[in-house]
C-alpha cells in the first residue's frame, strides 16, 4: 500500500523534541572557536543627517576589537532596487533601525556597552512616516527619485478610464489599509562566519535560500561562488523574511575577513522588530461596478505599496495587481500600482507576499458590493465565480489559472459550518438586541505558487547498502519537506522510510538550488526529486536486466519490497537495490536533475470565520474558522494540515491584532514583543478543516503549494466577519487590525452618522 497520502510523523522531530534543533546560536563548530561577537549600532531616528561619528570611546572599551562605519566598508553598492541601501548608513539615516556601525567584541556581554559608546551625532530631518506623507511629497526621502515614487506600474496613478463604470447600476468603492506587520519568526536573524587560511568562507546563516545567499555574498565580496560555502542549519521560521542573505549577513562575512577572525551575530528581538523587513504595508482602493442581480462588470484596483526606506521588493504590488480578479470571471479589470518610499523599515516578502493584499481587497470589496445590493455575500460570489468548465482560465490581468472548483469549495465550507443556522442565530440575536453580536465572514481565494525563479534541483544516490540519500535545493525550515520527500521516494523506489535520508541547506552538498519561498518546495523540489528517481529507475531497470539476462522492458520493480524481477515471474531471481548499486560500481547508481518545466499553479479555497463582538467594549472573539484549502493531492496530511494551521493563525493575527505602527515622527511604537501584539494560543480557536483535492497538470506530482494559502484566505474571512457583526449597527467598513478601540470607534462613528 502506498505511504503517500497517509499521516506520517515527521522524521525531523526526533532531535527537535529531545535535544532541540541546532540553530545558528547553537553552533559549537571548531571553525567558530574564538569567534568575535558582533552588534550593529542602529539609527534611533527615522530621518537625519549624520554630522559626526566618534568611535574612540568604543574602541577603548574592554574587549572591543573593531568598530566599522560606512567609510571603512569597501564593498560595491548593494544590487537591489532603484535606491540601494548603503551597507552602513552613509551621511543620512532613513529609518529607525538602519545600521550605522558594526562593532566586534571578544565576549557577548561586552556588545551592549560597546555599542552605546559609539557616539553618533544626528541632525534631524522631517520624517515621511506614512503613504500619505510620501505621496504628499513635502519631504523627499531620496533625491534621485521622482518625488517619493520608486515605481509606477500599469495604469497608476492617472491612467484609469474615467468612464469605466458608466452604465453600471451599482458602484462601490473603498480604500482598504492592508497594515504593516512584522514577520517575527521565533528565531530572529543570525549568522556566523569563518574564513580558512586559504581564503575560503563558510557562513552559517538562518536563511531560506543558501544557494541564493551564496550568490549575493560572493558577488559582494568579489570572490568566486566556489570560495563560499553557506550552511543553513536548523532555521527557526522564515515566512519570507529570511529569503537570501540580508545586508547584515554580507557585512558580517566582510567584517570577519577584515578582522581576521570568525565572527558571530545574533539579532535581539527588539532589534528584529525594526531591522528585519516588514510585510504587507499597502493601501488599496477597490472599486466594483455591476448590476443589482449580483453580476460584477468592472473592477478597479489602485495599489499603493509602502516600500519603506529602501525598496527591496517592488514585485509585491505587481503580484497584487496580477491577482486582483481573485476567483471571479470579471469581464473587465483595471489595475495600477505605485511603490513609494517612506522613512520606515524596508518592506519585503511575508507569507503570501502580494497575494494576500489582492485577496483582501477583492474579498472585502465583494462584501461591500453584496451589502449595497442587499444580497447574501455567499450568493454574490456564486454569481461571479469562474466555472469549472472555464479552466484553464486566462484573467484580464494576465494570469492563467490551471484548475479550480471555486463554487464547490465555498459550498462545502458553508455546509460544514452550518451557514444557514448561523445566519438564523445572527438574526435572532439582532432582533433580541443582544450586546454580543455574531458575525460571519466569507473569503474565497485563489493564489499563485511555484512562480518563476527558475526551477529546482534534485539528486538521488543509491548506496551499496541499499540505502538512499536525496539532495534537494529546497531549504525547508519547519515545513516537514524531508518527510514528504522521503515518503515520495519510499513509494517510488520501494525503499522503507528509515533507509532514506534527505539532505538540504549546505551549498557544498547541494551546490545548485533556489530554496524555499512562494510555497514552491513540494511542487518544484518534490518534482525534481521525483524526476531524479525516475532516471535512477530507468538505469536500474537496465542494470537489473543485465544481471538476470532479460530485456529491460521485461523487468519490473516490486515496490512492496524494493526488489527487481522479471515481469510475471514472482518466483524468479530477485535483485535488491544494494545489489544494483554494487553492480553499478564506480559510476554509482545516482541521478541529478534540474526541474524547471513547472509553471505556476493556482491553489484555491474558501474560508468562513465566525466572530463574536461585544458591541459595548468593542472586543472581538474569533469563535470558529472553517477552512477549505485545495492544493491538489496531499502527500502527508499531517504536514499539510500543519501548514494550513500556521497560515490560519498568522492570517487571523493580521485581521485581529497585529500591526507594526509608527508615530508621525517615524518612531516605531511596537518595537518590542511586549508592544507588538504577536498572537497567542488564547486568541485563536480550534481550526475546522474541510478537504478537497483538485490536481494540476503542471507538474508530475499534480500538487500545488500550501505554505501560504491559508494565510491568504483567513485574513479577509476574519476581517469580513467583524464588519458583518457590526453591519446592522450601520458599520460598512473598518480597517485591520480589528482591535477593541477600532471597533468601538467604528460603532461610535456609525451611531453619529445614523
Amino acid at each position: 500500500m502506498s505511504i503517500v497520502g497517509t499521516r506520517v510523523v515527521r522524521v525531523e522531530d526526533g532531535t527537535l523534541i529531545t535535544a532541540g534543533g541546532t540553530y545558528v546560536e547553537d553552533l559549537r563548530e571548531e571553525a567558530l572557536a574564538g569567534a568575535a561577537h558582533a552588534v550593529f549600532v542602529r539609527s534611533p531616528l527615522a530621518h537625519a543627517r549624520i554630522t559626526g561619528i566618534d568611535t574612540s570611546a568604543a574602541l577603548a572599551a574592554p574587549g572591543v576589537l573593531a568598530v566599522f562605519t560606512a567609510s571603512d566598508v569597501d564593498l560595491p553598492a548593494q544590487p537591489a532596487g532603484p535606491v540601494p541601501q548603503p551597507w552602513l548608513a552613509d551621511g543620512v539615516v532613513r529609518y529607525v533601525g538602519e545600521p550605522v556601525a558594526l562593532v566586534l567584541t571578544e565576549r557577548r556581554y561586552q556588545l551592549a556597552d560597546a555599542a552605546e559608546l559609539v557616539d553618533v551625532d544626528y541632525d534631524p530631518l522631517p520624517a515621511v512616516a506614512s503613504i500619505e506623507a510620501a505621496l504628499a511629497g513635502e519631504t523627499v526621502v531620496h533625491a534621485e527619485l521622482d518625488g517619493n515614487v520608486a515605481q509606477a506600474n500599469g495604469l497608476a496613478p492617472d491612467g484609469f478610464d474615467d468612464n469605466a463604470f458608466d452604465g453600471c447600476e451599482v458602484v462601490v468603492e473603498q480604500t482598504i489599509v492592508n497594515q504593516r506587520v512584522a514577520p517575527a519568526p521565533l528565531e530572529a536573524r543570525g549568522s556566523a562566519c569563518a574564513w580558512t587560511a586559504e581564503g575560503r568562507l563558510t557562513c552559517w546563516l538562518s536563511t531560506q535560500n543558501p544557494q541564493i545567499a551564496r550568490m549575493s555574498v560572493a558577488a559582494a565580496l568579489g570572490i568566486g561562488e566556489d570560495e563560499v560555502r553557506i550552511v543553513a542549519p536548523d532555521v527557526g521560521g522564515g515566512f519570507g523574511a529570511k529569503i537570501g542573505a540580508d545586508p547584515e549577513a554580507v557585512l558580517l562575512a566582510w567584517a570577519s575577513r577584515a578582522a581576521g577572525r570568525p565572527v558571530r551575530w545574533a539579532e535581539t528581538r527588539s532589534e528584529n522588530l525594526t531591522a528585519m523587513t516588514h510585510g504587507r504595508a499597502q493601501r488599496n482602493t477597490v472599486t466594483i461596478g455591476g448590476r443589482r442581480d449580483g453580476t460584477v462588470e468592472v473592477v478597479r484596483l489602485d495599489v499603493v505599496q509602502d516600500a519603506g526606506a529602501y525598496p527591496r521588493a517592488l514585485f509585491l504590488p505587481t503580484l497584487t495587481e496580477l491577482m486582483a480578479p481573485g476567483v471571479y470571471r470579471f469581464p473587465r479589470v483595471e489595475t495600477g500600482s505605485r511603490g513609494v518610499v517612506t522613512t520606515t523599515t524596508p518592506v519585503a516578502a511575508y507569507r503570501g507576499a502580494g497575494r494576500p493584499e489582492a485577496t483582501a481587497a477583492i474579498e472585502r470589496g465583494m462584501d461591500l458590493f453584496a451589502a449595497e445590493i442587499g444580497m447574501d455575500p455567499a450568493e454574490v460570489r456564486r454569481v461571479n465565480f469562474i466555472r469549472p468548465d472555464q479552466f484553464p482560465y486566462r484573467t484580464p490581468t494576465g494570469a492563467t489559472y490551471d484548475s479550480g472548483e471555486y463554487a464547490a469549495a465555498l459550498d462545502k465550507v458553508l455546509a460544514a459550518a452550518g451557514y444557514d443556522e448561523l445566519r438564523a442565530e445572527q438574526a435572532a440575536r439582532r432582533s433580541a438586541g443582544e450586546v454580543i453580536a455574531l458575525g460571519l465572514g466569507i473569503a474565497a481565494y485563489v493564489e499563485i505558487t511555484g512562480g518563476d525563479a527558475g526551477g529546482e534541483s534534485g539528486r538521488i544516490d543509491i548506496h551499496r547498502d541499499g540505502s538512499v540519500t536525496a539532495y534537494t535545493g529546497s531549504s525547508p525550515h519547519g515545513q516537514g519537506l524531508a518527510t514528504s520527500l522521503a515518503m515520495l521516494l519510499s513509494d517510488q523506489l520501494g525503499v522503507p522510510m528509515d533507509r532514506i535520508t534527505v539532505r538540504h541547506g549546505d551549498t557544498d552538498e547541494v551546490p545548485r538550488g533556489i530554496g524555499t519561498f512562494g510555497s514552491r518546495s513540494l511542487q518544484l523540489g518534490g518534482s525534481a526529486v521525483r524526476q531524479a528517481a525516475d532516471e535512477v529507475l530507468a538505469r536500474a531497470a537496465g542494470l537489473a536486466a543485465e544481471l538476470v539476462e532479460a530485456a529491460p522492458d521485461d523487468i519490473e520493480l516490486d515496490r512492496e519490497n524494493g526488489q527487481w524481477r522479471v515481469r510475471g515471474a514472482p518466483a524468479g531471481p530477485a535483485i535488491t537495490w544494494a545489489r544494483l548499486a554494487e553492480h553499478a560500481g564506480d559510476d554509482a547508481l545516482s541521478a541529478g536533475v534540474w526541474f524547471s518545466e513547472g509553471t505556476p499553479t493556482f491553489p484555491f479555497g474558501a474560508h468562513l470565520a465566525v466572530v463574536e463582538v461585544d458591541t459595548q467594549t468593542g472586543k472581538v472573539e474569533l469563535r470558529r474558522l472553517v477552512a477549505l484549502d485545495d492544493a491538489g493531492p496531499v502527500v502527508n496530511p499531517l504536514a499539510f494540515e500543519g501548514q494550513r494551521h500556521g497560515g490560519l493563525g498568522q492570517g487571523s493575527a493580521q485581521a485581529l491584532l497585529e500591526v507594526m505602527s509608527y508615530d508621525e515622527d517615524g518612531n516605531p511604537t511596537t518595537a518590542t514583543l511586549a508592544d507588538y501584539s504577536f498572537i497567542s494560543a488564547t486568541e485563536l480557536p480550534d481550526f475546522e478543516l474541510v478537504d478537497m483535492e483538485t490536481p494540476t497538470t503542471r507538474n508530475p506530482l499534480g500538487v500545488k503549494g500550501i505554505g501560504e494559502a491559508a494565510t491568504i484566505g483567513s485574513t479577509p474571512a476574519v476581517h469580513n466577519a467583524v464588519v458583518d457583526a457590526l453591519s446592522h449597527l450601520g458599520v460598512r467598513h473598518l480597517d485591520m487590525p480589528t482591535t477593541p478601540l477600532r471597533v468601538w470607534q467604528a460603532l461610535a462613528r456609525a451611531r453619529k452618522e445614523s
Binding site: V9, R10, E12, D13, G14, L16, I17, T18, A19, G20, G21, T22, Y23, E25, D26, R28, R108, Y109, A184, P185, L186, E187, A188, D234, V235, G236, G237, F239, T268, R269, S270, H477, G478, Q479, G480, L638, A639, E641, G642, H645, G646, G647, L648, G649, Q650, T672, L673, A674, F678, S680, A681, T682, L684, D686, F687, E688
Partner: protein, 155 residues
C-alpha cells in the same frame, strides 16, 4: 562570582559575571543549547525550563538566583531511549514545525500537566498563553497536550 546549579541531575559549577542570565548559564556553562532565546522582554517563553520543578522563563532570572537549585531542561526530560509523554505527543500530533518554540513549549506543557493533569482545550490555551509559536497556529500544540494527558484528541 561562583554559581553552582544542578542541571538535569548533574552539578554545574562555574565562575560567571554577576549579570549572567540563567538561560546563558544553561547554554554556555552547562553547554545545553535546546533552551532558546526568542525575545528580550519576557514575552515568548522559548526559554522556559523547570526550576525545582516549576516552570520559569530562564531569561528573567539570574544564574546567581538559581545558585544551589535544580534546573530541568528539554535535554533532561527523558531517559535513555524513552520519550517523555509530552515529547511523544508533540511528535505524534505534529505539535512543532521549525522547533524553535518547542523546548520551551514542551517544558511549559510538562508544568501545566503537573498542575492540571486533565486540562480542557481552553485550559491548555490559557496555560500556554506565555509561550509564543509562529508556525503552528497552536492547534496541534493543544492537541499534543491533550494527548499527553491521556485524553482523547477530539480533532
Amino acid at each position: 562570582m561562583k554559581v553552582t546549579i544542578e542541571v538535569n541531575g548533574s552539578e554545574v559549577s562555574d565562575e560567571v559575571e554577576d549579570r549572567t542570565l540563567l538561560v546563558h548559564f544553561i547554554r554556555d556553562n552547562a553547554g545545553l543549547t535546546a533552551t532558546n532565546v526568542g525575545c528580550d522582554t519576557t514575552s515568548c517563553g522559548a526559554c522556559t525550563v523547570l526550576l525545582d520543578g516549576e516552570s520559569v522563563k530562564s531569561c528573567t532570572i539570574l544564574a546567581a538566583q538559581a545558585d544551589g537549585h535544580a534546573v530541568t531542561t528539554l535535554e533532561g526530560l527523558s531517559g535513555e531511549g524513552e520519550l517523555h509523554p509530552v515529547q511523544r505527543a508533540f511528535r505524534d500530533q505534529h505539535g512543532l514545525q521549525c522547533g524553535f518554540c518547542t523546548p520551551g513549549m514542551i517544558m511549559a506543557s510538562v508544568s501545566l500537566l503537573a498542575h492540571n493533569p486533565k486540562p480542557t482545550r481552553e485550559e491548555v490555551r490559557h496555560g500556554l498563553e506565555g509561550n509564543l509559536c509562529r508556525c503552528t497556529g497552536y492547534h496541534n500544540i493543544v492537541n499534543a497536550v491533550v494527548d499527553a494527558s491521556g485524553q482523547e484528541v477530539g480533532r
